[in-house]
């Protein structure tokens, strides 16, 4: 066997090598390996926390029944889908299982006086509310007709605080909580003709969503489309893409990731997003839209003009009428808009409205035509003078404040309760189709598509469709007023709010309030108990704040009792404040009918 050993060893080694080779042929890469460790990656820590959130107070921490009611009602503020759940957390176990209100969150005006009556074992709270609207999804508030209601709640005292034991089957969100716990932001949609961006007011819940997540929410809402009020006058989105991930700001650029590319011009979508993501301070960072590996943005130069409120850093001119002629209030300023002058022979102006449209100026002039009747003229001007004045066929006794529709070539005048359409080239002034009867005041937003009017003592919001040749008013929605009655004049003060003048029944005097275009947020423009006289306000004029301008907003001007005021609650404008009244102006009376040329 000794002789055989080297041979068998050789044979065995050969066989084993063959086996090794053949075994290798089937196994490919090794199935497992050790962990291969590479370099350390920087472990910088970022600050934690949710800035800008207002968490809901705990039920157990509130002991006062009034406070409890207030906190319980404010629980509806937040994501409307979870509103019922939040309110339910204030109830006891039986209430939690049986309280199933409909999912609508009603925006109501809560009366200050809440009655808390003690009951055995607890309290009974009685509240008076005025329904203003509904908080729908995507942050839209839909205005609803004004309606008052009274509700009773039962509160029980438990071992660890107060409990809600009975509640009406309705979710109420006080408008004050809407103002506090929501932030008003605007989405922008392109108008139907693609010329201008139309703002859409939404409400972002501040409650439990950190500020840096709001851009994501806004873009998601934008991708869902416009609110019902705007749908007739804006374009649908060019893409039905979804947002991927969160919207981030990197190096002063927003980064938006979409699933699909827009079918048409992506730059318009980028401009839309840019204005949507712009903060309330007016800073609009550029947007980079990414779809897979493509990216596109908008052009820096063109985004500003897309927003119709942009005035190219030109200050509006304050004008008024004195003895039938247009005068300018205040001194000339270098950045002011140039005001064209009327021909010297044109006199007898009672009311006027000027509008700048590019390099042209338009004016609707209401003059005294004799015999107690007023006539309406349409004037066209370049930057310096009105070179063409076309009289319309309108003659009436009562003519309301005229207005020229911005971005359009026509104006609107309420004549004898009918809203008439005036043009620079036609003498005929037809009634605007779709307008209600009894129109006493009308104001058009700077985008030329949204209209607020007062008809029959009721405030309405409507959309002005003017594509092609047919011009009409659609989607007329009544806006509820929380405190004012008998509105007499309206004017747009912001992209999402109008100033309304009416009578405040509490003090029996006129007040001017700022009402959001959906009626949800209503604030007085003067002190709550300050009145502006007993005479109704006959004219209201304001300029919408330029979003790119950081200077303070121009004040609202109004006329009451044939006197002009250039600030709310201030003193009337005197002849001394006029720029160039001419000789003998002291004897011509006081300036009236103030208006802006924006």
């Amino acid at each position: 066997m000794n002789r055989a050993r080297p041979r068998t060893r050789a044979a065995l080694s050969a066989l084993s090598c063959l086996a090794l080779l053949s075994g290798l042929a089937g196994c490919g890469l090794p199935g497992t390996s050790d962990v291969v460790v590479q370099e350390r990656v920087g472990d910088a820590a970022l600050p934690a926390g949710d800035e800008g959130t207002w968490p809901l107070a705990q039920r157990a921490s509130v002991r006062d029944p009034k406070e409890f009611m207030r906190t319980m009602l404010s629980a509806a503020a937040g994501d409307p889908v979870e509103a019922a759940k939040r309110v339910r957390s204030f109830g006891d176990a039986p209430l939690r299982s049986r309280w199933e209100p409909p999912a609508t969150v009603h925006v109501v005006d809560l009366d200050e006086d809440m009655a808390i009556d003690p009951r055995p074992g607890g309290f009974e709270a009685t509240i008076n509310v005025t329904f203003l609207g509904e908080l729908a999804d995507h942050g839209v508030v839909l205005p609803r007709p004004r309606r008052a209601a009274t509700y009773k709640f039962d509160i029980a005292e438990g071992p660890d605080g107060l409990y809600l034991t009975a509640a009406p089957p309705v979710i109420l969100l006080p408008a004050a909580d809407l103002r506090q716990y929501f932030e008003q932001r605007t989405l922008y949609f392109w108008s139907a003709d693609g010329a201008y961006l139309v703002p859409d007011v939404r409400y972002v819940p501040r409650r439990d969503m950190p500020r840096n997540q709001w851009p994501t929410l806004l873009v998601q809402w934008l991708l869902r489309g416009p609110s019902p009020l705007l749908r007739p006058v804006v374009r649908a989105l060019p893409t039905d893409a979804d947002l991927v991930g969160n919207v981030l700001s990197q190096d002063s650029r927003w980064s938006v990731n979409l699933t699909q590319a827009p079918d048409t011009d992506g730059r318009r979508l980028a401009t839309q997003l840019r204005w949507t993501l712009a903060g309330p301070t007016g800073r609009a960072d550029a947007v980079t839209v990414r779809v897979d590996r493509d990216r596109f943005g908008d052009e820096d130069s063109r985004y500003l003009v897309a927003n119709p409120a942009y005035r190219a850093e030109q200050e509006p001119a304050r004008l008024c009428l004195l003895a039938g002629r247009v005068q300018q209030i205040g001194g000339p300023s270098p950045g002011a808009v140039s005001v064209p002058y009327l021909p010297a022979g044109y006199r007898g102006l009672v009311r006027a409205a000027y509008q700048r449209f590019g390099s042209r100026r338009y004016g609707v002039l209401v003059r005294d035509a004799g015999r107690g009747r007023l006539a309406v003229d349409v004037a066209t001007a370049d930057a310096n003078r009105f070179h063409r004045i076309l009289p319309t066929a309108l003659r009436a006794r009562v003519v309301g404040q005229p207005t020229w529709v911005p971005t359009r070539e026509f104006g609107l005048v309420p004549v004898d309760g009918a809203l008439r359409l005036v043009r620079p080239s036609a003498a005929a002034a037809p009634v605007l189709p779709g307008a209600p009867g009894g129109v006493t005041a009308v104001a058009v937003a700077p985008d030329g598509r949204r209209v607020v009017l007062v008809a029959g003592g009721q405030l309405y919001a409507a959309a002005l469709v003017a594509d092609g040749t047919a011009i009409s008013l659609t989607a007329r929605t009544p806006l509820p007023l929380s405190e004012l009655t008998g509105p007499t004049a309206v004017a747009w003060t912001a992209q999402g709010a109008v100033a309304v003048a009416g009578r405040q029944p509490r003090i029996g005097q006129t007040q001017v309030w700022s009402v959001s275009v959906d009626g949800a947020v209503q604030e007085p423009l003067q002190l709550p108990n300050q009145g502006l006289g007993t005479q109704p306000i006959t004219q209201l004029s304001a300029v919408v704040d330029d979003p790119s301008d950081t200077s303070p907003a121009d004040p609202v001007m109004y006329e009451a009792n044939k006197l002009s005021y250039d600030t709310v609650g201030g003193s009337p404008v005197t002849v001394a404040e006029l720029l160039d009244p001419g000789p003998g102006a002291d004897r011509r009376g006081y300036p009236t009918a103030p208006f802006y040329l924006g």
Binding site: L20, G28, V37, R40, V41, A45, G49, D50, Q260
Partner: protein, 602 residues
């Protein structure tokens, strides 16, 4: 079968239970059945399943044994071929060495290629995961605490985005992206393939390196998350968020790389096998270049040794083989010349012998005739002449036998001795020889005792020569017996037969056992010759024994007598290995230090 069990079924005939003939291994005894229940009937039929099992086991054993036998035969056959074939040895050694080398290089190549593939993939995944970390950190920066209800949505959207475009279905070959938060137990792991659980692919060590040591790390793992085992490269990177650290894992399937590696290994294997085969063929060709001349040389030498003295090798070139061939030719030429000379000398010797015998015989016959005549008339001569006539007769007799012995010896020297083998029964031959010497034995007072077997002992011998040898031995024994009986023993074994002739006479002095076979040697020259020997008897006997291929050996001690043993092979041509009888008789007195010298085989 022999199984003793109370439940043996008599219906099963013995023929049905085949037992391999001559199987050496005992059948393992069947386990005795459980202590029989009292109700069990003795001759119960075995359940067929157990019978089948036993049959199966039996066939298995048969198969195993025959396989072992076959393997053994194969081994023996291979070993025989290995011994006999130089080219087979060289080719197999070369093939074995080549296999070892090729296998080790092939393994190195395959392992190295696998490692390169993995490292390449790891480098690729590293760049991807770096950009993935940047994107994920940006996306997660809007979340401030881990309980943010929108955080799981962000994680799964980010995972989908990083794994592939969300609009396209995730491409095969793309990674599975997973997020894990080791320090945030409330945050469940998210992956881009929600239907699969990828946590078993992330080992604890990898997680520790990524989560605790904040390092980039990767590992290869095999998982069956999709149902089939797939190899994955699991690459982990730490993420920094506002609510803690998270880990991002790219689980990259290595199916393509695995296929590459397999293809590479298969190619290496095929190439290796082809290389080994080619090397074997090449080795065979090269070996043949060397082995063929050697084989030719071997055949030539064989033929030369068989007697064809004119065989020569062809000398080609000037290398070692040519040197071998030239030397071989030289040797063959010398041998041939020598043998031819010797043959010539032998021929001359034979001629001389026959001539001498003839030449000597003729005058010898004449002298003999004359001497016979003188001897027949010796009574008429004077006593001195009578004596001379008797002397003349006796010496002439001696002269004649010496002459014939010389002639015989010279025939042996010339190699001319001819052996006529025929199967002969040695027992009657021995008896005949003993009878022939009966008279002499009586007169010498040394009776011959025969110890022969009852049966016949047939051996292939030349009867004439062997009888002569026996006569010589017995005659010498009687002559040197000094009155003691002579014992003659015949014994036969498997392959040899031995005849020992023992006398108890003077014996041999130490060292004389060899000399005794020398020509004309006498132990004691003064001894009277009673048989008139020539001094050549033992030499001739030795030559005769050698001619048969047998041995003739002597042993003796001074005063103890001597024993001569003749050993012959039973079959002609066989080699003798052992003798059936000992050389040293059993009753030998061993003098101090001097034992029987070991007999070397002639």
């Amino acid at each position: 079968m022999g199984t003793v069990s109370p439940t043996v079924d008599p219906a099963v005939p013995a023929a049905a239970s085949p037992e391999p003939a001559g199987s050496p291994a005992p059948v393992p005894p069947e386990a005795p059945p459980a202590p029989a229940a009292p109700l069990r009937r003795p001759a119960r039929r075995r359940p067929p399943a157990r019978r089948l099992v036993r049959l199966g086991l039996r066939y298995l054993r048969l198969g195993w044994r025959s396989a072992r036998r076959g393997a053994r035969q194969l081994t023996v056959g291979v070993r025989t071929v290995w011994r006999r074939s130089l080219s087979f040895r060289m080719v197999s050694i070369t093939t074995a060495a080549a296999t070892v080398l090729v296998a080790s290089f092939g393994y190195l190549l395959a392992w190295s290629s696998g490692r390169i593939l993995i490292e390449g993939t790891a480098a690729d995944v590293r760049t991807r995961i770096a950009s993935g970390v940047t994107y994920a950190e940006g996306q997660l920066s809007v979340h401030g605490h881990p309980a943010d209800p929108r955080l799981p949505g962000t994680l799964s959207q980010t995972a989908y985005f990083l794994a592939g475009s969300p609009s396209r279905p995730s491409q095969p070959g793309g990674p599975i992206v997973a997020f894990k938060a080791r320090n945030l137990p409330d945050l469940r792991p998210t992956s881009s393939e929600q239907a699969l659980d990828v946590t078993p692919l992330i080992s604890a060590e990898l997680e520790r390196q990524v989560a605790q040591e904040s390092r980039l790390a990767y590992q290869v793992r095999t998982g069956t998350v999709t149902g089939r085992p797939v190899k994955y490269l699991v690459y982990g990177a730490p993420l920094v968020t506002r609510f803690g650290t998270m880990q991002l894992y790219y689980i990259w399937p290595l199916s393509t790389q695995d296929d590459f590696a397999r293809q590479i290994q298969f190619t290496v294997l095929v190439t290796g096998l082809a290389l080994i085969a080619l090397l074997a063929v090449l080795a065979n060709l090269v070996t043949r270049m060397v082995v063929n001349p050697v084989r030719v040389a071997a055949r030539t030498a064989q033929r030369l040794s068989a007697g064809l003295l004119d065989q020569r090798m062809s000398v080609r070139g000037e290398d070692d083989l040519a040197l071998l061939a030239a030397s071989f030719n030289q040797m063959a030429g010398n041998l041939q010349r020598q043998i031819v000379r010797l043959e010539e000398m032998s021929r001359l010797q034979r001629r001389f012998t026959s001539d001498v015998s003839h030449e000597l015989r003729t005058p010898l016959t004449t002298v003999r005739m004359a001497a016979d005549l003188i001897f027949s008339e010796r009574d008429e001569f004077s006593p001195a002449v009578t004596r001379s006539a008797e002397l003349l007769q006796a010496e002439l007799d001696r002269f004649e036998s010496l002459l014939s012995d010389l002639l015989e010896i010279s025939r042996f020297d010339a190699g001319f001795a001819v052996l006529d083998l025929e199967p002969t029964d040695l027992v009657p031959m021995l008896r005949r020889v003993a009878d022939q010497f009966a008279g002499l034995a009586r007169s010498a007072g040394a009776p011959v005792r025969l110890d022969v077997p009852e049966s016949a002992v047939i051996a292939d011998v030349d009867p004439r020569r062997i009888e002569r040898v026996l006569r010589n031995l017995v005659g010498n024994a009687i002559e040197h017996a000094e009155g003691a009986p002579v014992e003659v023993t015949l014994a036969a074994g498997d392959a040899a037969v031995a005849i020992a002739v023992r006398d108890r006479g003077v014996g041999l002095k130490p060292g004389e056992e060899k000399l005794v076979f020398s020509r004309f040697w006498r132990a004691d020259p003064s001894r009277a010759r009673q048989t008139g020997g020539t001094g050549l008897g033992l030499s001739i006997s030795l030559e005769d024994a050698r001619l048969h291929g047998g041995w003739l050996e002597a042993w003796g001690t001074p005063g103890g007598g001597a024993q001569f043993r003749l050993t012959l092979p039973l079959r002609g041509g066989d080699r003798l290995i052992a003798a059936p009888l000992p050389l040293v008789p059993a009753d030998a007195a061993v003098t101090e230090g001097i034992g029987p010298a070991p007999e070397a085989a002639p």
